[in-house]
């Protein structure tokens, strides 16, 4: 790096500068307030000219230029942060250099170090910007459609990255060792114990006549030859590999990698959401700065297209009108009489019951479809017909998607009758949609569990031999993996079909047909919350399914990758900006919250399978054990004595209970701290107000 800044020489030629000599400023103070110095200084001029009593008001950037040395803080402050004209900033820079030359070696060194560190930081962040995927695309989207929609795409990019990292972990620790072991034909010691012969019967390849479409069917349903690939849990073996000094316990690797990437996802999401939380905490009460943010912060200076500018102006006007109307409504609500209130509350209770009934009905449909899909597939009545078989196989996915499509529309109509204010309407609808999406998945898993473990009754006729329903589920983990795999594929197909067959025709109709109903329907609006719920749902499916189907993160990465481009395409060609803008800062926090919810829900089936269910005897890396979790205690016992005792101690109650109490105490302390900070903030605000009124009073008194 080379400082071509030796321009403090006699030549004083600035290549891009306009002609002002870089002389050391010996001009008298009066010069600084000459009108030539421009608008920038009129502010400081009036402040200083009119009132020079309140030194507490000065911010450094309003310091008058004087012949004396720069203040200490100004010496090291980067020149670009001063609020002055270019000419003034160059003079300040000369001053900084001159003063810097006067210092001793230590100060010079620290100043140089600080400067180079600052430059290194800015350079590092600049170069990191280039590594960021799709930066320009997201910037364009933000410029044209607003930061809210751009945050959806940022979120999608984050999920793609997370899925890819998960796939790398799984590939590195589970799939590749397995491949290596298979290819090298290394001697493997099997760890499965002898079990009842009946439980061991498992042959996914059906004997007999194979139709020509079996290959496609197998790919779409994950059955047949797919079960014998690395795709599904059932293919992995319960083996130890001992090669000279190299010892690799495949089941242990499988289990610990699963736990590790769950933890990694949790940590990553929490770290990211803390940033969003800090920002939304800063905005405090959005109701307190609602109008000011809309007016002063609402206008996006990046927009160039005059069409979009008009739309933006329309949307700002619409939002302000909505807010004023909401004020009105709130005032009217406050004036409701008791009888009116009673009527409204009873109506709301009734409508909530309706919502619960509808959700319950949807769950029952999902249960029926899951149960019947398996039975119908086994009975050969539909085996002949390709389309029917596909339909029956995908029945649970179809039911879930249909429920998640129709019910939100119904919720949207119901909420209108409940007479809430606009903000509450949006929030409540969102809560209901999130609940519906995530619990419909839970319902599917519950119905699977019901069939696999004979409703949790281990002594039931079908489950008594092997601990799980051996007739219908010879390798139940693979079966669960197949359901998740089918859900993923169907979700992907739905997105594609909706974009191709609904959005594009809608746009074409709106463009070419001028009849009233179609123009009223209008162009598609890109609704951020619904789209976010879609991808969170897909991610939850992936998290649940990864334990049972290790290559699912790779499929998910590819799926989200394609969805990014499809959504971008549909956004630019088909959509108009939303009427009500979705604020980016609150958006990020909301996305992370829903994602955390999805993660929490995805842990339940996986942890339950690990701890409480009997693994399949006939397949998988854990066959022969009573529980999947048993791998860990068995491994611990093979460790040296102190290590084994340490781990046993950590797992015991003697450790867990004090840890729990410690966490409780810490939590109470943090809650107390947070509330005291809140009090402090309030006190400081009051003090601020007092200072201001004091200043006003003094100002009046002086004149």
């Amino acid at each position: 790096m080379y400082y071509a800044e030796d321009g403090i020489t006699d030549e004083d030629i600035h290549p891009l500068g306009t002609g002002v000599l870089w002389k050391t400023s010996e001009s008298p103070v009066a010069n600084e307030f000459s009108p030539k110095n421009g608008l920038r200084h009129r502010g400081s001029e009036s402040q200083w000219g009119a009132t020079d009593i309140q030194p507490m008001q000065q911010s450094r950037s309003f310091q008058p230029w004087s012949d004396t040395d720069l203040q200490d803080e100004d010496e090291d402050k980067p020149v670009k942060e001063f609020c002055f004209s270019m000419q003034r900033k160059r003079e300040i820079r000369i001053k900084q250099e001159k003063q810097g030359a006067k210092k001793n070696t230590w100060e010079t060194w620290s100043r140089d170090y600080k400067r180079s560190f600052r430059q290194f930081q800015s350079k590092a962040s600049e170069s990191l910007q280039f590594l960021v995927l799709w930066r320009r695309t997201i910037n364009t989207i933000g410029g044209n459609f607003g930061t809210g929609i751009a945050s959806y795409f940022t979120f999608l990019r984050f999920l793609i990255l997370m899925n890819f990292v998960t796939f790398l972990l799984i590939g590195g620790f589970i799939v590749i060792p397995n491949i290596v072991v298979q290819e090298l034909n290394v001697v493997q010691t099997s760890q499965s114990s002898n079990t009842t012969g009946l439980c061991l019967k498992y042959s996914p390849n059906p004997q007999g006549l194979e139709r020509y479409y079996t290959f496609i069917m197998d790919i779409l349903m994950g059955t047949g030859f797919m079960e014998l690939t690395y795709m599904f849990y059932g293919f992995y073996k319960n083996t130890l590999v001992i090669l000279a000094a190299f010892y690799y316990n495949l089941p242990l690797a499988y289990l610990t990698t699963t736990l590790f990437y769950f933890l990694l996802s949790l940590v990553w999401i929490v770290v990211r959401s803390v940033k969003g939380f800090k920002q939304s905490l800063l905005t405090e009460n959005t109701e307190l700065s609602n109008y000011t943010s809309k007016i002063f912060v609402g206008w996006d200076f990046c927009i160039k297209d005059p069409r979009i500018i008009k739309l933006k102006q329309k949307s700002i006007r619409y939002e302000l009108q909505m807010d004023l109307e909401e004020e009105n409504m709130r005032r009217k609500h406050a004036e409701r009489t008791t009888s009116q209130l009673a009527a409204i509350y009873s109506l709301r209770v009734f409508l909530n019951l309706v919502v619960i009934c509808l959700t319950g009905a949807a769950f029952y449909c999902i249960y029926l479809s899951t149960v019947n899909s398996q039975e119908l597939l086994i009975n050969s009545s539909v085996k002949g017909n390709f389309i029917l078989e596909l339909l029956v196989g995908y029945l649970p996915s179809i039911t879930i998607t249909a429920a998640n499509f129709f019910l939100p529309i119904v919720f949207g109509i119901i909420i209108l009758w409940e007479k809430y204010t606009l903000n509450w309407e949006i929030r409540l609808t969102l809560v209901r949609c999130v609940f519906l999406r995530l619990t419909s998945l839970g319902m599917l898993l519950y119905s699977l569990w019901d069939k696999i473990t004979c409703s949790g009754k281990p002594h039931d006729a079908k489950c008594v031999t092997c601990g799980y329903n051996i007739d219908e589920y010879k390798c139940w983990e693979t079966r669960v993996g197949q359901e998740m795999y089918k859900l993923l594929i169907f979700d992907f197909l739905t997105v594609l079909v909706v974009i191709l067959l609904v959005d594009f025709p809608r746009k074409m109709m709106v463009d070419h047909c001028s009849c009233k109903p179609i123009q009223f329907w209008g162009q598609q609006e890109f609704l951020v919350p619904q789209n976010v719920l879609d991808i969170v749902y897909g991610q939850t499916v992936c998290w649940i399914g990864t334990f049972f189907c290790p290559l699912l993160p790779l499929l998910n990465t590819v799926k989200y990758f394609i969805i990014f481009y499809m959504k971008r395409l549909t956004l630019f060609t088909n959509c108009r900006p939303a009427d009500r803008t979705f604020r980016a800062s609150s958006a990020n926090f909301f996305f992370m919250l829903v994602l955390l919810l999805g993660l929490a829900i995805s842990w339940v089936p996986v942890l339950y399978s690990i701890f409480a269910m009997t693994p399949s005897r006939a397949c998988g890396p854990f066959n022969g054990q009573t529980n999947i979790w048993d791998t860990i205690p068995i491994t611990i016992q093979t460790l040296p004595k102190t290590a084994a005792e340490f781990f046993l101690f950590i797992g015991s109650q003697a450790f867990a209970v004090p840890l729990f109490f410690l966490c409780c105490i810490l939590m109470f302390y943090l809650i107390a701290l947070a509330s005291s900070y809140g009090e402090l903030v309030k006190t400081l605000k009051d003090q601020l107000q007092m200072e201001r009124s004091r200043k006003m009073f003094l100002r009046q008194v002086t004149y």
């Binding site: 608008l39 942060e81 160059r90 007016i295 609402g298 500018i309 200043k695 006003m696």
Partner: protein, 229 residues
């Protein structure tokens, strides 16, 4: 000016600006040839970096001026090619009138373009020199710090230049934001609400401190008060 040679381009950054005004994409071999030619004149055969150091700034930049197409300078010059000379070594005093500045695609349809030009111009009339131009895009770039942006945003919204955003300033801002499509009562109501929310010292208008205090609570400000060039 800080000059830095990367693989095939040269970056000039001015510490007075928040953005790099020049990412010169030019063939560095041409530059090397020119330097070699100059070196032969001086009789020195040294590597670029030290050879640059041994030159004076003026010599270096007069050479660069003939080679480098600096991005922002080009944008400025393209607005009025007949007014703006290629060579700034003689410190010309050139101002581009507001009409031409306001015709830039980044500013053409911006409802606040006149205020922006007025705030950043030296004389407050919208006619900008190159320094003013650079300053404007520096403050409106991604890298500018929040305080700097808040200061200039306040100046932009202060239509009557009295260092306070009073009710009439707010009304003008609102009308620009909504294309005059709000009714006068609505405009009045919204202005009152804004002053209620943001005015801490209860003087009926917003001072710079009130504005900065409000900006602290708006994390979106950095991304909206931003023009990309």
């Amino acid at each position: 000016m800080i000059l830095e040679c990367r693989k095939d381009k040269m970056v000039i950054s001015d510490p007075c600006l928040c953005l790099t005004p020049a990412v010169a994409v030019f063939n560095i071999s041409i530059f090397r040839d020119c330097i070699k030619a100059e070196q032969q004149k001086d009789g020195k055969g040294i590597w670029i970096r030290s050879s640059l150091k041994s030159w004076g700034t003026s010599k270096l930049f007069s050479l660069l001026n003939s080679l480098i197409h600096t991005r922002l300078f080009n944008r400025y010059r393209d607005l009025a090619p007949q007014l703006v000379p290629d060579d700034y070594t003689n410190k010309p005093d050139v101002k581009i009138p507001y009409e031409l500045i306001g015709s830039m695609p980044e500013l053409k349809d911006n409802p606040f373009r006149q205020r922006i030009a007025e705030v950043f111009s030296e004389d407050g009339d919208g006619n900008m020199t190159l320094d003013d131009f650079l300053d404007m895009f520096s403050v409106l770039s991604e890298m500018a710090p929040k305080d700097l942006k808040a200061y200039y945003a306040f100046k932009i919204y202060d239509f009557n230049n009295d260092d306070y955003i009073c009710k009439s300033d707010l009304e003008k801002t609102l009308n620009k934001l909504t294309r005059n499509e709000l009714t006068p009562e609505e405009v009045c109501l919204v202005c009152e609400k804004v002053i209620d929310e943001a005015d801490i010292d209860n003087d009926g208008k917003l001072s710079l401190e009130d504005f900065q205090h409000m900006i602290v609570r708006a994390p979106d400000f950095l991304s909206t008060f931003h023009i990309r060039i």
